[in-house]
């Protein structure tokens, strides 16, 4: 039983040491990065330049209404012309 306890303690210590060293390695990697100001500037400029502006639906809706209205008017007009032509031909 005490061997088991000892073994478990040993495993816990190994995991804790591993995690601590891993955290340290990640922080060292971060400290080796170039100047934070330059990186922040690059990220900011990229985000502002490449961001899509939100879609405004108003002009799209107006355009769609105009297109549908024109199609309807053309349809009525063509029907009228067709009627006139058939009357003339008869």
């Amino acid at each position: 039983m005490s061997d088991e306890h000892h073994n478990r303690d040993h495993q816990d210590t190994m995991v804790n040491e591993f995690l601590e060293e891993m955290g340290g390695a990640i922080q060292r990697a971060e400290s080796r990065l170039p100047s934070p100001q330059d990186r922040a500037q690059t990220y900011t400029e990229f985000a502002i330049q490449h961001a899509d502006t939100p879609t405004s639906w108003a002009p799209i809706v107006v355009l769609a209404v105009v297109c549908i209205s024109l199609s309807f008017i053309m349809y009525i007009g063509l029907q009228h012309i067709e009627e006139q032509l058939s009357v003339t031909l008869l």
């Binding site: 995991v15 955290g23 990640i26 922040a40 961001a51």
Partner: protein, 186 residues
């Protein structure tokens, strides 16, 4: 090293100087998390860039309103990193099946096990860390490296606190087994 207590919120971040200051404050934490999850320096930089772009677009759309900057950016980054690693894993599996994995290794900066070869973290950390599924790895990085509580990790991963505790227990158990095997081999 708590990370979620920044009092700055998203209001007025559309101003370029304010956005720059927010980036300067949060980029270190985002790099640590991204590097821990992906293991790759280049992929981490790419993810951070995407994270700030998504955040800026969310500001423009009004989708990002009240949430604190560190919490929001970290959440976006973690989700991007998890999605990236899952996609990467699926692609590696397909490449292995059709026998093209060798051909793509240099393009993705990874070796046969899908472990980054451009990492500034010593390889033995990477080998053990990447033996964990990406969700377990993410939870462990947020908890150990960033010092977040299980509740805070749960918020970042969109899971329940219980689920995160399970992830942490399983991650530590796997690490224990691997480290023990390593120890026995020596």
């Amino acid at each position: 090293m708590n990370t979620l207590e920044s009092k700055q919120d998203a209001s007025n971040l559309l101003d370029q100087d304010a956005f720059y200051n927010m980036v300067k404050q949060t980029q270190g934490s985002l790099f640590r998390v991204a590097l821990g999850i992906t293991g790759s320096h280049a992929i981490s930089e790419e993810l951070i860039q995407d994270c700030y772009l998504i955040s800026y677009e969310a500001l423009l759309d009004g989708r990002w309103k009240g949430e604190h900057v560190k919490s929001w950016t970290q959440k976006v980054l973690v989700r991007l990193a998890i999605r990236r690693m899952q996609r990467h894993r699926r692609r590696n599996q397909i490449m292995q099946i059709i026998g093209l994995n060798k051909f793509f290794e240099h393009k993705t900066n990874t070796n046969e096990q899908g472990i980054a070869t451009d990492s500034s973290i010593p390889p033995h950390f990477m080998v053990h860390l990447h033996a964990l599924p990406v969700m377990q790895r993410s939870a462990l990085i947020l908890h150990v490296v960033e010092g977040l509580s299980a509740r805070q990790v749960a918020e970042q991963l969109g899971k329940s606190e219980g689920a995160v505790e399970q992830l942490l227990v399983r991650a530590k158990k796997t690490l224990k087994q691997r480290l023990e095997e390593d120890h026995d081999e020596r």
